[in-house]
């Protein structure tokens, strides 16, 4: 069996340097994504998108939320986390893509083939994590490639390679999953009571190839707490369509007969 790659990104190790954002842009030649001043702590990137494949979040929470605090005069909890495409085990964008442009690679990642994508935009609304988006001047959909080119050459993705604190770990999925669970236990033992591993395995997404060690609820990181692959809605929607179609046939017949 092939190697199944994964990321484990740890919010308790990240120092918010954004080197991953820069390395990703440099290696993948991702264009500029807007020079904006948001006032959201140190975050002017805001969210993942067509031209943002790594995004470092800056959370400010009340000191009562837990440890990892700064500013001794007026303390608050400051958390950083580098977000990335989740490379779902069951992926909404891949299921929704009508052209076959989005494929599963031999390392288990989800890849948009840019020579095939015709920019229909259905993957954009099919992703329960809000990752993939259409680049408006280009017309096609883009997202993290998991540095498939680097991985094919035996190298690790640019973001993990550059991370100075090893907050971004890259490796075999099962190993990193075990490492994540162990890390959460260790953090809890050290007083980080709300540490948890984000890897939604119990939903139809079936887990991700990008797992996160976070403090507090996933909601605070805009990580969906219970994401579903939108194909789970197909059966009921088609059933409704077929029932309604039968009613339409009956009504049209009745209209001509009366």
């Amino acid at each position: 069996m092939n190697k199944t790659s994964a990321f484990l990104t740890d919010a308790t190790i990240c120092i918010g340097c954004k080197a991953c954002e820069v390395a990703c842009k440099e290696w993948n030649e991702v264009p500029e994504d807007g020079l904006l001043w948001t006032g959201f702590s140190y975050d002017n990137t805001q969210a993942l998108g067509a031209s943002t494949w790594r995004h470092v979040m800056f959370l400010e929470q009340p000191a009562t939320a837990g440890p990892q605090q700064v500013d001794m005069e007026n303390p608050f909890r400051w958390i950083f986390l580098s977000d990335v495409c989740k490379h779902c085990v069951h992926s909404g964008c891949l299921e929704g893509c009508p052209t076959g442009a989005i494929v599963r690679t031999d390392v288990g990642s989800v890849l948009v083939q840019k020579d095939i994508c015709n920019g229909c935009g259905y993957c954009v609304v099919s992703c329960p994590f809000g990752v993939v988006d259409k680049r408006h001047d280009d017309g096609r959909a883009f997202k993290c490639t998991f540095c498939y080119d680097r991985q094919s050459a035996g190298m690790m993705p640019a973001c993990a390679k550059t991370c100075p604190t090893q907050s971004i770990k890259f490796g075999e999925r099962e190993d990193l999953r075990a490492e994540g669970i162990a890390r959460v236990q260790e953090l809890k033992a050290r007083g980080y009571a709300d540490a948890q591993l984000y890897n939604p395995e119990e939903t139809s997404v079936g887990g991700t190839h990008a797992m996160f060690v976070i403090l507090g609820k996933p909601d605070a990181y805009n990580l969906p707490p219970a994401p579903e692959v939108p194909t789970v809605y197909l059966k009921s929607a088609w059933t409704s369509a077929l029932l309604a179609a039968m009613v339409v046939i009956a009504v049209v017949c009745a209209a001509f007969l009366f």
Partner: protein, 368 residues
């Protein structure tokens, strides 16, 4: 003249460098940048409230732990433009027109009505691909839609349905017109029947799959209404087809009956939407999408119904009700797209829905 330009730089907004210069000048002059804070061009989101931060440490504990990330949306809004809303409208009408043409033919209805209905199906089938291709980011690659057949992708199914519908609608019209102009070829009537039957089946799929298409997405307000949407779009297509036939002069009991039925069902669907206030349904009740939805629903439902009831005897009354229904039907498609956009920008609706799912799952696990 030999300036080598980075090919990527043509993709960057031209204002970027000027903007940076302006910000640097402002910082040098005043020691701070007031005008620098801004929003990205395509991420119109709900206005900031007291939960949003204002620089490092400035939230001072006002930002409750466990809420969203600065009120930004979790899922991405649909990128579709007006062409898709119009396509939903035109596809629904042309699909149902083929159904009316086929059933009318089987039941020996007015041959002119049958002919016009079949033509409406074909004209719609010619307009629809144009609208869809215009919305693509890479229109020249539209044939990639038929590169694979994926029943799990409603978008792929739609492409195949529309292609099959186009073929069937063309066959039906071409064969019938050939018979009409006295061309006698073997099997021509049979080919016409096959085209009409195929057009009716794929027409029903064409008018309803658009509801499945947006119902099976990650957008909360869309997938929460996945049961209602296909029925709503079919009904809207039925009423729209009858309305166009009326405007073309077919003031027959058939179109009257269909118009009544469609407006009655739309009234009920409108009431059911209005009676479900929730965070997820907010885009259906508030803002641009909410008011468009309401007005469109009223035009398709109760208003069209009332005009029909009180002015059913007059030709002008029937034209008025037909126009009323068509305006409502078309704007309701826009309202659904706008509602999807508003829903994507609201993280709280998504969290409410998903956390409810987690609670339900936990309760189920305890019950076992």
């Amino acid at each position: 003249m030999a300036t080598t330009e980075n090919p990527d730089s043509t993709r960057l907004p031209k204002a970027t460098e000027e903007r940076l210069e302006a910000i640097r000048a402002e910082a040098a002059a005043t020691g701070k940048v007031e005008s620098g804070a801004g929003r990205p061009p395509r991420m119109d989101r709900p206005p900031r409230d007291e939960r949003s931060g204002g620089g490092v440490g400035s939230s001072e504990g006002k930002f409750p732990a466990g809420e969203s990330y600065y009120n930004l949306g979790v899922v991405k809004p649909p990128t579709w433009t007006w062409e898709i809303a119009v396509y939903f409208f035109v596809g629904g009408i042309s699909g149902i027109s083929s159904v009316i043409g086929f059933i009318g033919h089987v039941l020996h209805a007015d041959p002119t009505l049958v002919r016009v209905a079949l033509w409406m199906g074909l004209i719609g089938a010619m307009i629809c691909p144009g609208l869809l291709i215009a919305d693509l980011g890479r229109p020249s690659r539209f044939l990639n839609m038929l590169r694979v057949f994926k029943w799990r992708s409603a978008m792929s199914m739609g492409s195949w349905i529309l292609s099959a519908f186009g073929g069937a609608a063309f066959t039906a019209v071409a064969a019938n017109e050939a018979v009409r102009y006295g061309i006698h070829l073997p099997l021509l009537p049979q080919i016409a029947w096959i085209g009409e039957f195929g057009g009716a089946i794929t027409g029903l799929l064409l008018a309803s799959y658009t509801g499945v298409l947006i119902g099976a997405t990650a957008i909360p307000v869309w997938h929460q209404h996945r049961h209602l949407l296909p029925a709503h779009f079919l009904t809207s297509g039925l009423g729209g087809s009858a309305a166009i036939l009326e405007l073309l002069g077919f003031l027959l009991p058939v179109t009257q009956f269909l118009g009544f039925a469609a407006s009655a069902v739309e009234t009920l669907l409108g009431i059911s939407l209005e009676l479900k206030p929730s965070q997820v349904n907010k885009p259906l009740h508030h803002g641009r999408s909410g008011w468009t939805m309401r007005i469109a629903g009223a035009l398709e439902g109760p208003i069209a119904l009332l005009i029909r009831v009180f002015l059913h005897g007059s030709a002008h009354g029937r034209y008025a009700t037909a126009i009323c229904f068509l305006i409502g039907s078309c704007s309701s498609r826009f309202a659904w797209i706008w509602a999807g956009r508003a829903s994507a920008h609201d993280p709280h609706a998504l969290f409410e829905e998903e956390n409810e799912r987690i609670r339900a799952r936990a309760a189920g696990a305890r019950a076992l």
